[in-house]
């Protein structure tokens, strides 16, 4: 039996909406897998495609852009 697949997910979250929503998830104690990490940006429109490629290069299984 192989190991359970725990995808590494990187989220780029807009400071004004999604990042705030992630904080709200915390305040509400919503539980999600620890393999997901959030990087704060000031606007999802400011995400350079290189950031996404870099995340994959560093071993991310999925990249979420949220804004």
């Amino acid at each position: 039996m192989g190991q359970e697949f725990n995808p590494k997910i990187i989220t780029f979250a807009c400071n004004w909406c999604s990042y705030a929503a992630a904080d709200l998830a915390g305040v509400s104690r919503v539980q999600y897998p620890p393999s997901m990490k959030i990087i704060r940006v000031m606007c999802s429109g400011g995400i350079n495609p290189n950031y996404i490629l870099k995340a994959f290069e560093r071993g991310a299984d999925g990249v979420l852009v949220s804004g």
Binding site: K8, I10, N15, Y19, A20, A22, D23, A25, G26, V27, R29, V30, Q31, Y32, P33, P34, S35, K37, I38, I39, R40, V41, M42, C43, G45, G46, I47, N48, P49, N50, Y51, K54, A55, R58, G59, A60
Partner: protein, 557 residues
């Protein structure tokens, strides 16, 4: 910033402060392990675990760390930067560290609180987040806050009760006001209204206010005038006004929109003819001139409102109908008054009481069904009364249509000129209905009165005074200080393609045809970074979020 100061920052000396947040963080992950791990990271020279980093003793620890260990970067791993970044960065500044060399890692809201009962995993994630934050912080650069001057003068557009109240309150604080009114007199809609619901004479009340305005030395009023052009930004707007004596140019620091609304003319509704079937405003005129001869009056509420074309409730027309029904009963007690309504919008204790009083005076109220609205024919209004399940027919001499306030036809032109939004109905749209009800999203521009949404005169006045305090909070500062997190364009590499210009949502970028490059207005820039993500030559960058800094953070994944 001088070369020597910059040199100090070149070799990073990073201090990391790991917060337990009582048991909020330490209860769900191992903060001591995270702190131990932080010590092993590149450039980290000092690490401290605190029970509460945001407490006074926690802040002192950071400031002491900066001094004792000559730190030139500080990372706090704790709660959310959305709430605590300002506190920590300003504490760094107090200890002499440029506040832009502070970085925050969120190990509470986005780690300990969301991975409860998974202590090892949460500890591991916290270490990774700290590693990423430290990597980003090493590349941070000191920034200087942006300062700009403020002109202590305000342009108020519209001289109704809202605009006059704002102007009066501002002038009362010794601020200079330019009041621009399109018509030849101040007072707005209330000039045509008969008696207010408070019993005051509407015209007299606005004339009293207009009298005070005209003797106020801080208010320069322009009647029969319109604002032609506005450019600039908060603190420094250039405005041009068309007046009967020619064009006037001036500079102001803030702008207030108080252009009001108009009463819908019920063309084509309920057999409106302006004689037997009139609008509420026409009834106000008849009452004013004492020429009401009707012995039987029927009001129809929501005439032209709350339908497919105009979904909103105008809020004030129910109060107007009750007010006038009572006035008729007072003056002509034998006149029969009936009100056909869908819902009576009588909010607040004063209006609620009015409704009771009207019932006591013999005004009769009947609900009608919007799917089967009243029919007006000749001297007769018929409708289906659901309570009794009957068709009711009322003989009438005068039918009064309660029509809503609607946006002015030129509201869109003003909105375009000031680059502020309107809602689906055409009223000006505030930045946030609950949190910033009198502000536009654009800094320095405010809205009050019926132009924002139908309001009573008391509400319009209150909003006008409210706007004055919003404006004063800005203009009484010595200067405008703004976060340095704005974009910058490197003119050496910019090719002037203007890709950034079209992407900027805040119109902060302009093209300089002489240098053939794009330039950023730092006051208008909101730091979204859209330009940086778009620029093909990587000439545009967002300070504090430069590609190198973000890539370092991602690289430390």
């Amino acid at each position: 910033m001088s070369k020597e100061t910059l040199a100090f920052y070149e070799e990073p000396r990073i201090g990391v402060f790991v917060c337990d947040c009582g048991s909020n963080i330490a209860g769900h992950l191992d903060c001591s392990q995270v702190a131990e791990y932080a010590e092993t990271l590149p450039h980290v020279v000092y690490v401290k675990e605190n029970l509460y980093t945001c407490s006074e003793s926690g802040i002192v620890e950071i400031q002491k760390g900066i001094k004792d260990h000559n730190l030139n970067r500080v990372v706090v791993a704790s709660c959310s930067p959305r709430t605590h970044h300002p506190l920590f960065s300003s504490s760094c500044a107090e200890a002499g560290l440029n506040p832009y060399l502070f970085e925050m890692v969120n190990i509470r809201d986005q780690c300990s609180w969301v991975h409860m009962g998974k202590r090892d995993n949460a500890t591991h994630k916290a270490k990774e987040l700290v590693r990423m934050g430290v990597a980003k912080s090493a590349g941070l650069e000191p920034q200087e806050e942006i300062e700009s001057s403020l002109i202590r003068k305000i342009l108020v557009i519209g001289g109704g009760v809202a605009g006059m109240s704002a102007a009066q309150a501002l002038a009362g604080m010794n601020l200079e006001v330019i009041l621009v009114e399109k018509s030849s007199q101040y007072g707005g809609l209330l000039r045509q209204v008969n008696t207010l619901d408070t019993g005051e004479d509407a015209l007299e009340s606005v004339q009293a206010l207009a009298g005070e305005i005209s003797t106020q030395e801080h208010i320069k009023g322009y009647l029969s005038s319109e604002v032609r052009d506005v450019s600039g930004y908060i603190g420094n707007y250039d405005v041009r006004i068309n007046t009967p004596d020619g064009e006037v140019a001036d500079k102001v620091g803030c702008i207030v929109v108080a252009t009001g609304a108009v009463s819908l003319i019920p063309e084509g509704l309920f057999e409106y003819d302006g004689k037997q079937v009139v609008s509420m405003m026409e009834l106000e005129q008849q009452l004013k001139h004492n020429d009401l001869s009707a012995k039987r009056v029927v009001f129809i509420q929501c005439a032209g409102a709350r339908n497919e074309q105009r979904e909103y409730c105008s809020r004030i027309c129910c109060m107007m109908a009750v007010k006038n029904a009572m006035l008729i009963k007072e003056k002509y007690p034998l006149t029969d008054v009936q009100v056909l309504y869908r819902d009576m919008q009588m909010y607040g204790t004063h209006k609620e009481q009015m409704l009771w009083n009207a019932r006591g005076m013999g005004v009769r109220f009947h609900v009608y069904d919007p799917a089967d609205p009243p029919r007006v024919a000749g001297g007769n209004v018929s409708f289906y009364q659901s309570v009794t399940n009957e068709e009711v027919s009322l003989e009438t001499d005068l039918t009064v249509l309660s029509t809503p306030l609607v946006p002015r036809s030129d509201a869109g032109t003003i909105a375009n000129m000031l680059r502020v939004p309107t809602d689906q109905n055409g009223f000006f749209l505030e930045a946030h209905a609950k949190l910033r009800p009198l502000d536009f999203a654009a800094d320095g521009i405010f809205v009050c009165g019926s132009g924002r949404y139908p309001a009573t005169s008391v509400e319009a006045k209150t909003q006008g005074i409210g706007v004055a305090s919003r404006v004063a909070a800005i203009l009484f500062k010595d200067k405008l200080v703004k976060s340095a997190i704005v974009a910058k364009i490197h003119p050496e590499s910019c090719v002037g393609c203007m890709a950034c210009l079209s992407m900027c949502p805040y119109e902060a970028i302009s093209y300089n045809p002489e240098l053939r490059v794009c330039e950023i207005n730092e006051i208008l820039c909101k730091g979204c970074g859209n330009c940086a993500a778009t620029c093909p030559s990587h000439s545009a960058e967002l300070k504090g979020y430069k590609a190198e800094q973000l890539l370092a953070q991602i690289g430390a994944l």
